[in-house]
Symmetry: none
Subunit: 417 residues, 2 copies
């Protein structure tokens, strides 16, 4: 089975939105072992949508249409599919009720325009909506339904959920290919991509000769560098075993720069170590302005080990509330005092702190990107100076993950003593 | 003249690279007043490139091909264009010399594979390369050259330079149209897309009859709903005036749900109002865990009006530091006490607070999504209960923007009293 993608929306052609959906879908199809040779973007124009859909169905077994399922008059993906199928749209009362309920739960009245989202081409199967108001569609095309058009919403998280729940499984069933392709991502922080690649080069050379598993590097900014292992095997158990073996190989080469796999974030890695060691945490933030607390509380279960944070943005707040000595607040001393102070004020075992210059202009004679990270565990208080690249937002993001990584490395060391 | 875009590269289909080039080109074409109805991505496969190019030339006057001009064997855009033109590739010795010189200046020897970059379809015009080693191409198609194919490199800054220097001017000359197209985005928070659309429906109907300006809605999750105005005019001054007039029309219909235009964020809108009124702000955060502070400090100049925040994640921190009365912490009373408490502790004019249930499980008998927002200005203290949709992250994001919007509305009211 091969499957192509059509992204619908005039805003995509005008460059007002970058079409990341097609890339996401392309990656998912590749991982599932489904060939995808073309991707098309087209505006909110019925004749043109119909024409690209016809072209796609001539050369591909399956087509995923993304976007144009909203409630407004320019959302016409449903109409285009019905026209290509040569069938009318039929309003489904049960979908109307689901949408009405969704609005009700939010204390809102459903607008009449939302009724259009309950229109389904005759003969199509509905993919029930779980997040947004638009259901997806599975539409058989051709006398024996030998081709298929899927319609999914253009809102990324709605689309992604529906792809994984309904579209990819349906495509895999059609393909009849029973071999299983699985991926696992090893997440790292602290090495440049080129250095990381050199570290694992011998292993890459060996895998190149074998052809399976394959390894790819994805530089992901403040999410670190991801090392993705992809394996192909006869069944899931074998695929999982290959993934486990390869993960062990790479972890042995990469050491402590690995902080987790797949969706495990830096904050989750830190949270697990804190929970294992029965420690609580408090944070004093200056340039990060709440980002460290925000990331930590993103981890489910953070209420077990996170006490809270003090965002001491104004210098006076640092002096008054955290007992930082009067003087330059972008300094090692200030970082130490903030970490020790917040640990005491919030009654935690561990205190972390960030202070520095996010920009756009220098401060206290310090250039943009100068950041001090502080940590206090019991009587041990330390500070680390670092210089971070990029604009205001990137400096803040990198400071956030850097201070979390500092804590992670110290907690790892503690487990070895 | 209308012009479509074909991006060439298997890595684009696999989702290893997001195709930002097509978006960039799309925006440039729109600004230049050139219609663009389709964008296609295709892999490094000769037959498939030829087939999409033929389809494009049937429906568009001009085609921009982006990528596939490199020196390696899978760079075959030149071959595909020559095949569609029905002409051979001819090696240009002068291009060979330019490439050899470029390598020489970098102290390198030119590889033989780079010779392929000097191959030009017979009858095509060369766009001299200035940055990378690949020249661009302008290729007339058809008996009288009534259609045209442009080839530009896939490296973004090489492509962008060539587009502005050669491709867009050539297209404008062919079109003979000197009109200018400009867009402006009005940013809103607080209405569902369908309700918003109904509110401005009379205006949309009127514009539909006129055809200029045009209006589009973009639902952007926690960034609210964007209303984009696009105008076409004889020159830039007239285009700006049309934008101004249409913005006034829409603002009059939409009222206070408009918080800014173009890149103005909610935190910038709030920051401006605070600065105008000479007020300072402090925030007490529970479920948002630092997100409110993080967004506020993202605004350049926030140090003028933002004192700081207390992330009181643990209930005891609420009682001890913010003077919240012991009892249920997901409540109106707690939200009020937090807002008043943080205002006092951090010495600010205004206190804001968030407390609620982000999930994944209910808390104190309150369902996931229950959120209380508090605000204290002087002696005035209030709290608002709301029910927010989505998963943990979305509940937190929506709580963040909702509390900022609450403050914005109150500050707007203050300017009217």
């Amino acid at each position: 089975v091969n499957c192509e993608v059509i992204a619908v929306g005039t805003e995509l052609l005008l460059g007002q939105i970058v079409d990341t959906n097609s890339s996401w879908i392309g990656e998912r199809l590749a991982t599932a072992g489904i060939d995808s040779h073309y991707q098309t973007k087209v505006g909110d124009n019925l004749d043109r949508i119909v024409s690209v859909l016809r072209i796609a169905l001539e050369r591909s077994d399956a087509v995923i249409m993304c976007g144009g399922l909203g409630p407004t008059q320019d959302d016409i993906t449903r109409e285009a599919i019905a026209q290509v199928m040569g069938v009318p749209l039929v309003r489904h009362d049960d979908i109307v009720e689901v949408i009405r309920e969704m609005f009700g739960r939010r204390g809102r009245e459903m607008a009449d325009s939302n009724l259009r989202q309950a229109d389904v081409p005759e003969g199509a199967t509905v993919i029930p909506q779980r997040i947004g108001t638009a259901p997806g569609l599975i539409c058989p095309v051709g006398p024996n339904g030998e081709r298929v058009v899927y319609a999914v919403p253009g809102v990324p998280y709605e689309m992604e959920e529906m792809m994984d729940r309904a579209v990819v499984p349906d495509l895999q069933e059609r393909s009849g290919d029973r071999s299983v392709i699985l991926s696992r991502t090893i997440r790292t922080w602290g090495l440049a991509e080129s250095t990381l690649a050199e570290t694992v080069q011998p292993r890459l050379d060996e895998l190149d000769r074998r052809g399976n598993p394959t390894i790819a590097f994805l530089a992901s900014g403040m999410e670190g560098i991801k090392v993705r292992i992809t394996v192909k095997a006869a069944d899931e158990a074998n695929a999982q075993q290959l993934l486990d073996e390869e993960e062990d190989e790479l972890r042995a080469m990469l050491g402590d720069i690995v902080f987790g796999t797949d969706s495990v974030s830096m904050e989750q890695a830190v949270g697990r170590l804190l929970a294992d060691q029965g420690l609580t945490l408090a944070v004093a933030e200056s340039l990060t302005g709440g980002m460290v607390g925000s990331r930590l509380t993103n981890a489910v279960g953070s209420s077990e080990w996170f006490r809270g944070a003090i965002v001491a943005y104004d210098s006076q707040v640092k002096f008054d509330l955290l007992d930082v000595p009067e003087g330059p607040v972008v300094s090692e001393d200030a970082a130490r005092a903030m970490a020790a102070g917040v640990r005491k004020v919030l009654g935690a075992d561990v205190g972390l702190s960030t202070t520095g210059v996010a920009g756009p202009t220098e401060q206290d004679g310090m250039p943009v990107g100068t950041v001090f990270l502080g940590m206090a565990i019991g009587d041990h208080v330390e500070a680390l100076e670092t210089r971070l690249p990029g604009d205001r937002d990137r400096v803040r993001q990198f400071a956030t993950i850097s201070v979390l990584n500092l804590l992670r490395l110290r907690l790892l060391e503690a487990t070895r003593n």
